[in-house]
Symmetry: C2
Subunit: 136 residues, 2 copies
DNA sequence: TCTTGACTTAAAGTTAACGTTAAGGTTTAC
DNA sequence: GTAAACCTTAACGTTAACTTTAAGTCAAGA
């Protein structure tokens, strides 16, 4: 089964020009072409794309994804290296997630504080004259 | 208690020129100056910065942070709006986190797959001639 | 046959978020 | 009192990741 760039675009939510851009950048260097030069994506290409999106959406830079792809092209001798790349990336993502959760708590605190302030404001804004630009 | 730009830089891990950039972009528009024009950050400024970093590090664009700051400057009438901005952002961050966790699973799967492949490869790479560029 | 629309390329443009440089004023240490 | 280490502004440069444009090829339908 083969897919046109448009079909892949719809499946992946990546616009055609982005798919071409990724290919140009070496993220997907094995896409087949028809006689007239039209891209024909295979199921395997789609699976690759899925991994690429996964890495990209967890913050891996395109440059680094390209390195990963280049290693893959070199065959099984690079399996260990690829593995450790993914493990490093995994750790980074875990750190990101923990950080995010921490920040989320802070945002939550702020929301509660603002909600309180808003209620006080509704109750009657006259009895408090303290001026602040809202950082507290 | 007041701080120089360098002290704030050390406290926040934001370089001086970034602090000036943020100020220029309207993220911190109330920093006091000495007679000779040198920035004197107050505790309140630091708290603001901490919120700004929080929003920035969870992916809010500087433009949007500026909107938030502008609302804050308008006083308590904007409390509700600010609150809903934060709530919207909170939801986005939650979505991000869930997405990340999903992708993390996929990365984990890949790692396991590669580890398996690597073991097979070590055991003896001769009995399998299937060629793949490694997407599976 | 003509034209419409999807595909192709190369190359230039855009945006966000800094980073760097130049040219100069101020404060602190010896 | 002078040199180093700060500070200031303005303006230009960089990087990543697209995005758009221009110019062309190709196949199908009226």
């Amino acid at each position: 089964m083969n897919y046109t760039i448009k079909q892949v675009s719809e499946k992946t939510n990546l616009k055609p020009h982005v798919l071409r851009y990724y290919e140009r950048e070496g993220l997907l260097p094995f896409v087949d072409r028809s006689e007239s030069g039209i891209r024909r994506y295979s199921e395997e290409d789609l699976e690759w794309l899925s991994l690429i999106c996964c890495l990209k959406n967890t913050g891996m830079a395109i440059k680094q994804i390209r390195e990963f792809v280049e290693l893959s092209l070199q065959g099984k001798e690079t399996l260990k290296e690829r593995c450790s790349m993914l493990e490093d990336h995994k750790k980074e993502v875990e750190v990101q997630i923990v950080g995010m959760q921490k920040y989320l708590c802070k945002v939550d605190h702020k929301i509660k504080y603002f909600t309180d302030q808003y209620e006080k404001y509704l109750a009657g804004s006259s009895e408090n004259g303290a001026v602040s630009h809202g950082s507290d």
